[in-house]
């Protein structure tokens, strides 16, 4: 199929799709008038039952906790897939990576940004069920902070943070910990992933029962998964590319 034919076919199909989408949009409840019972119910029930003030996190790690387990496993599987894909190719000799970062400004600002990003990530995770945040968002921020180490310093400093022997167990503990918390409920005679502990004090870090534990497990999983992804792309693509440029 040539490019022209393909674009022509797409244009025709897109017009039909656009008409269908517009038709659907007109029949949807008016913007702002949707009254799905589930969301409104959770807004009332979650703070009362779990004493958490962030209902989105309560939804993610409690009322839809099983869904989130699936989400974590998707991430886990995708990372495994990326590692398999990137590591299978024979890429010949690994060139020795260069270490030089010319700019002092990059080094100073980068070092500051590393601390700031990791701190923000820890804060987002820790208070994820009190104020806006949560394990997923926090994990992304922490991982970005650690990745900045490579930008601001050198591959040598970044090295241990990207090593399989550290990240693989951490990712396993994150994903497995989530399942273990779910199984703990099963062991005590309740359905899988039932919130085990008391609600605690309203709107504080000691609230939510098992939500904080699931929250931290997710943060660990996301941090490790993103660092593995980054270190694989770095090893297999960026470093050889940079070495190629220097030659």
């Amino acid at each position: 199929m040539t490019r022209t034919v393909r674009i022509g076919l797409f244009s025709a199909a897109a017009v039909v799709l656009a008409i269908l989408l517009c038709w659907t949009a007109v029949d949807l409840p008016d913007f702002g008038n949707y009254r799905g019972p589930y969301g409104g119910l959770l807004n009332h029930v979650a703070p009362a039952e779990r004493h958490v003030t962030e209902v989105v996190t309560a939804t993610v790690f409690d009322y839809r906790g099983f869904d989130t387990l699936g989400e974590e496993l998707i991430l886990f599987t995708a990372v495994a897939g990326v590692v398999l894909l990137l590591e299978q190719g024979e890429r010949g000799e690994r060139p020795e990576p260069s270490e030089s970062i010319g700019s002092d400004a990059v080094r100073v600002l980068g070092a500051l940004a590393v601390g700031a990003a990791v701190l923000v990530g820890l804060w987002l995770t820790a208070f994820g069920y009190v104020t806006p945040g949560g394990g997923f968002q926090g994990g992304v921020a922490i991982a970005s902070g650690i990745v900045l180490l490579w930008v601001a310093t050198s591959l040598r400093v970044w090295g241990p943070f990207g090593s399989d022997s550290i990240l693989d167990p951490l990712e396993g503990v994150g994903a497995g910990g989530y399942i273990v918390i779910g199984l703990a409920a099963l062991a005590s005679g309740l359905p899988f992933l039932t919130n085990l502990f008391g609600p605690g004090r309203y709107g504080t870090l000691q609230s939510g029962g098992s939500i904080p534990f699931l929250n931290w497990a997710a943060a660990l999983e996301v941090t490790a998964a993103l660092l593995i992804l980054f270190s694989k792309f770095l090893e297999e693509y960026v470093v050889p590319l940079a070495a190629g440029d220097e030659r």
Partner: protein
């Protein structure tokens, strides 16, 4: 204009699809797929909006205050995580294709395969 947010979602979806169909580079194609997917974020969040509602976060806010639907926000979060995971996989595949075919243009790859 109470259907405008839904139409925005539809538009983002179509624009993303257009990008995929006309793409000349696999990385560009992967990003267009992500754009198509992001139309679902807009749709989900638009559906969950309640007129005059605040965020579903009640720290320092009286309980029972009108708030938007937290469920669609949780779904959007799931959606984003899945999107990132899939994007990483696609980019790894693109890297593999580049090594085997020596090109990132989907049309040229199709020509090589005949």
């Amino acid at each position: 204009m109470s259907v405008l947010p839904y139409l925005v979602a539809a538009w983002i979806c179509l624009v993303g699809l257009y990008g995929i169909v006309t793409s000349r580079h696999l990385v560009h194609l992967a990003l267009c797929l992500t754009i198509t997917q992001s139309s679902t974020y807009v749709l989900l969040l638009a559906i969950g909006y309640v007129k005059g509602g605040g965020p579903p976060i009640f720290k320092g806010v009286k309980l029972g205050t009108t708030a938007v639907d937290p469920v669609v926000q949780a779904l959007t979060l799931t959606d984003i995580v899945v999107s990132v995971a899939v994007l990483a996989l696609i980019l790894a595949l693109a890297l593999d294709v580049h090594e085997r075919a020596g090109t990132m243009d989907p049309d040229e790859i199709a020509e090589l395969k005949g």
